[in-house]
């Protein structure tokens, strides 16, 4: 496993792009060089001396600017670690470990459909960037317009962007899965075989996306989360239930998995 780095990265910028949601840009040359879409980094949220909070936090690589040697992280404040992270200043330095895990497996012969709900859009922009120029669809979902994330950036990738908000304040009213259902439903079986779904978001959404993909016989890859300590396969802490195979480990077997490996009833 080459190309994983334990480095200090300078904060290039940080800004609030939606309520409690921040876009963090780091100068991390090695990570920017080696990362592939779907991979993640472990970031130490504290800068001060001391061991509390103890663990690094995992975040998807939201985007890479190869020339500037920058990586972007899109994160939401949900607890102690992310609250600390939201307070870092430009110029300060963070300990970052990455790039980690298995990313999305892109199939050039296929037409990608990206499905992201809420913060699940985080790893998809990097993927969309890499798919740029080809055909493809992105379905973005959020509760309401104010929580729609990075719509402009996704639009600039040139892929078709469909939007769903649960309250109908922007785009289609409803869930991303309804949009996905209509989209796949419209296609012939033949065309469907050309499709590959890449998805990230809350478990209920992923379960539905995996279910739709299965019933339409479409390949589907999902990016999953688990509480992590090390992020590199040392502790076995990030187990999720797979089908017959017992447990998979999100940090090294994933975070991106073929949807059909996962035990969707027990996860």
């Amino acid at each position: 496993m080459a190309g994983r780095f334990d480095m200090t990265a300078k904060v290039v910028s940080i800004r609030e792009v939606a309520p409690e949601t921040f876009l963090l840009t780091l100068h991390a040359p090695e990570i920017a060089e080696y990362a592939v879409p779907g991979q993640f980094v472990m970031i130490r949220p504290r800068q001060e001396a001391g061991f509390d909070p103890l663990l690094r936090r995992p975040f998807s690589i939201h985007r890479v600017h190869a020339q500037q040697e920058h990586i972007e992280i899109l994160f939401r404040v949900v607890g102690r670690g992310t609250r600390l992270l939201a307070k870092v200043c430009r110029g300060s330095v963070l300990c970052v470990l990455g790039p980690l895990g298995k990313g999305f497996e892109v199939r050039p012969a296929k037409i990608p459909v990206l499905v992201g709900g809420g913060l699940g859009v985080a790893p998809l922009l990097f993927l969309a960037d890499r798919l740029k120029g080809g055909k493809g669809v992105i379905i973005l979902g959020a509760l309401t317009k104010g929580f729609l994330l990075r719509l402009d950036a996704f639009s600039l990738t040139g892929l078709d962007v469909l939007v769903a908000t649960e309250d109908g304040s922007f785009g289609n009213k409803g869930l991303v899965t309804e949009v996905l259902n209509r989209l796949l439903g419209r296609l012939e079986a033949e065309s469907r075989r050309q499709i590959i779904v890449f998805s990230c978001g809350p478990i209920p959404m992923l379960r539905a996306v995996a279910g739709l993909s299965k019933s339409y016989q479409v390949e589907c890859q999902v990016s999953l989360e688990a509480y992590m300590a090390c992020g590199i396969g040392l502790c076995m802490g990030c187990a999720i239930r797979a089908g017959r195979q017992g447990y998979l480990h999100v940090c090294k077997d994933g975070p991106v998995f073929p949807a059909n490996l996962i035990d969707w009833d027990q996860i």
Partner: protein
């Protein structure tokens, strides 16, 4: 930090022997926090360390406990991995060759449900090149059957030790549980049963509750507490055990920096293991070795023995 220890610059002698086991230096990686070596090699030059203690191995593969398996606590980590491991056969076939080829000093942490199983594990591992010692885990709090019981009862601990010692030519380290009233009683019992050394501590039994969900955080309810939070307890137990047995004592528990390591060495530990620190900073072990060397040179300690507080 490039994962390499700078040369010993002459004077400081860090070598240590535990029975027939000769170590380059006293810094080891603790079981369960360094995988089987390959997982951490991008960050640490394993040959620069004293040894690696691989994840606890049982006779059969184990799937481990249902998630969530981890919870962060103040300066600590709760884990309930439940000894997920590949089993002894897969270990020998798939993991050991990698370690052997690199010449890494390897100690195998073993775990059974009965004295018979421990003995059988020692027997199966015997004769495999590349294994330099066994560490008997009689103290893991994360399995329901066995494990803990051995660790809290001097007689059972002695029985397991005797059986393993008889079944192997390797040095046998017995890893003690801190969840006892009198750790010396256990230490003395396993010394008399023939243990080459003792290592301590394993994790303290703890738990956490998610107040939003109103339920225990861990799938297993209870888990083992490790990390900086437990260092004072570990250090006290090491101090006590050093003063009640004659065999070498390996210190474990919350060691994160070279200062921590030196506290244990001064308490009288012959070597130390780094656990949770690997998880939060995989280059920590190398920094600890370097820090110990620098401290000893600056303060004119030329051997590990010189560090020990005699009282």
């Amino acid at each position: 930090m490039d994962g390499q220890v700078k040369g010993l610059r002459g004077r400081v002698d860090l070598r240590v022997s535990i029975g027939s086991l000769d170590l380059k230096n006293p810094v080891l990686l603790a079981s369960g926090t360094c995988g089987y070596g390959a997982e951490i090699e991008d960050f640490v030059n394993l040959e620069d360390l004293g040894a690696i203690v691989v994840k606890g191995i049982s006779l059969e593969p184990r799937q481990g406990n249902p998630p969530p398996r981890l919870a962060e606590t103040p300066c600590g980590l709760l884990n309930a991995i439940g000894l997920e491991n590949v089993g002894v056969e897969a270990f020998i076939k798939e993991k050991l060759p990698w370690l052997r080829e690199r010449g890494i000093t390897t100690i195998v942490n073993i775990l059974g449900n009965s004295a018979d199983e421990y003995e059988e594990l020692a027997r199966r591992l015997a004769g495999n090149k590349g294994i330099h010692g066994l560490e008997i885990n009689i103290s893991c709090p994360n399995v329901k059957k066995g494990g803990v019981a051995f660790g809290t009862d001097p007689q059972q601990a002695a029985e397991v030790t005797k059986r393993v010692v008889a079944a192997t030519d390797l040095p046998v380290i017995v890893k003690l549980s801190p969840n006892v009233a009198d750790i010396c009683a256990i230490a003395v019992a396993v010394q008399e049963a023939g243990a080459t050394a003792v290592s301590l501590i394993n994790t303290l039994l703890g738990m956490a509750i998610d107040i939003e969900q109103r339920r225990p955080v861990l799938g297993n309810i209870f888990g083992g507490l490790s990390g900086p939070a437990i260092k004072p307890v570990a250090l006290r137990m090491v101090w006590q055990v050093v003063r009640c047995v004659d065999i070498p004592v390996i210190g474990i528990g919350g060691i994160t920096t070279h200062v921590d390591a030196l506290e244990f060495l001064m308490a009288g530990a012959c070597a130390i293991q780094i656990g949770t620190a690997n998880l939060i900073d995989p280059t920590a072990p190398v920094k600890v070795v370097q820090g110990v060397i620098d401290f000893m040179q600056e303060n004119n300690y030329f051997s590990l023995q010189a560090l020990k507080i005699s009282s």
